[in-house]
Amino acid sequence: MIPAAFDYRRATSLDDALQAIAGGDAKVLAGGHSLLPLMKLRLTAPGTLVDIGRLTELKGVRRLDDGRMAIGSLTTYADLLQSPASNFGLLRDALPRIGDVQVRNRGTVGGSVAHADPASDLPACLLALDAELVARSASGERTIPVDGFFQGAFATGLRPDEILTEIRLPGPRDDAGSAYASLENPASGYAIVGVAAIVISGDGAGIGTANIALTGVGEVPYRARAVESALAGSDGSPASIAAAAAHATDGITVNSDFHADRAYRTSMAVVYTRRAVEAALGRIA
């Protein structure tokens, strides 16, 4: 429970932090609620921790000129829940289910995304929302689509010299509803199956298009394209939603552990996909 020795450096500005991580053997410390437990178990032992926790320019949610929402990477889960981002039903569902009060008060949105735990809730939400990530390095800034960002367990498209600064979400729209449904591991609280669903209405009571993303099920959070195409243009009836949800794990090697083996997890992925889609559809204003 005692981490290996490390150097600690508190960044005074984003540029200062970028300079500090350029050296190599450094990890960025935000809320610390994923990194510090791993260090205490000695599953990771960075030579230097670069603490960006006091960089206020990375905190908070603001509205961009084009109507989109920009979430600073150091925004905590608790602050995000109090922000306009909670207008998204799926975030209102997912955020209170993350960790406990202490974790939500300290853990950061950017930290969760950069850490990329394959069973964390937020990546599925961001995938469904088609979020855009902004990363800064000493050589400049770039935007990265979230689809494809999660490359493996704890592996992302961030380069070692980059810091995630912002997460951009689409603006709200009246013809969409969203929801998040999850089955949690009773010990850790992480998702055995987590499903983020956004449904955009079509003609009449039907579904126009849908974005569906799952976490905890495969090696990385993923978009369930087969479910999406089955839902697109469908009548939105319980039978058509159930038929679409049956494709929740198409093409995915489903995780298996003693909490949920492959058969059970696959079955629950279908069940929770159906529930998330039905809840999302019910929320269209």
Binding site: L183, N185, P186, A187, S188, D257, F258, H259, A260, D261, A263, Y264, S267
Partner: protein, 118 residues
């Protein structure tokens, strides 16, 4: 107050034994539920309100008439929870299952009773 608290804790511990707590080993003998990330304990928020009642019968075998109470709740609640689960599954012909009744085990039992997977 102390006795009520002891009973609350014991009852919850007993429910945990029936539904979640387990030492799971791999085929190679490695303990898989070796940390709090994998060993599920019952949490306060998962529990219903508990109503307590008691009979007061002082022990005749010591001068103070006192008895131990720490384990009393844990003994009955495990059996009561287990019987409730088996009762719920009895319509499928289920007579016995080994504890704990995790969601996966209950699901597998239902599936196999229906002639499905597992």
């Amino acid at each position: 107050m102390i006795v009520d608290g002891q009973l609350h804790g014991g009852i919850v511990q007993g429910v945990g034994q029936a539904l979640w707590e387990q030492a799971v080993y791999s085929d190679e003998g490695q303990l898989l539920s070796g940390s709090m990330l994998d060993y599920a304990l019952p949490r306060a928020a998962w529990m219903p309100n508990i109503e307590l009642d008691q009979t007061v019968t002082p022990s005749p075998v010591n001068p103070l008439g006192v008895k131990g109470v720490g384990e009393a709740g844990a003994i009955a609640s495990t059996a009561a929870t287990a019987n409730a689960v088996i009762d719920a599954l009895s319509g499928l012909g289920v007579r016995h299952l080994d504890m704990p009744y995790t969601s996966q085990k209950v699901w597998e039992t239902i599936q196999s009773a229906k002639g499905g997977p597992a």
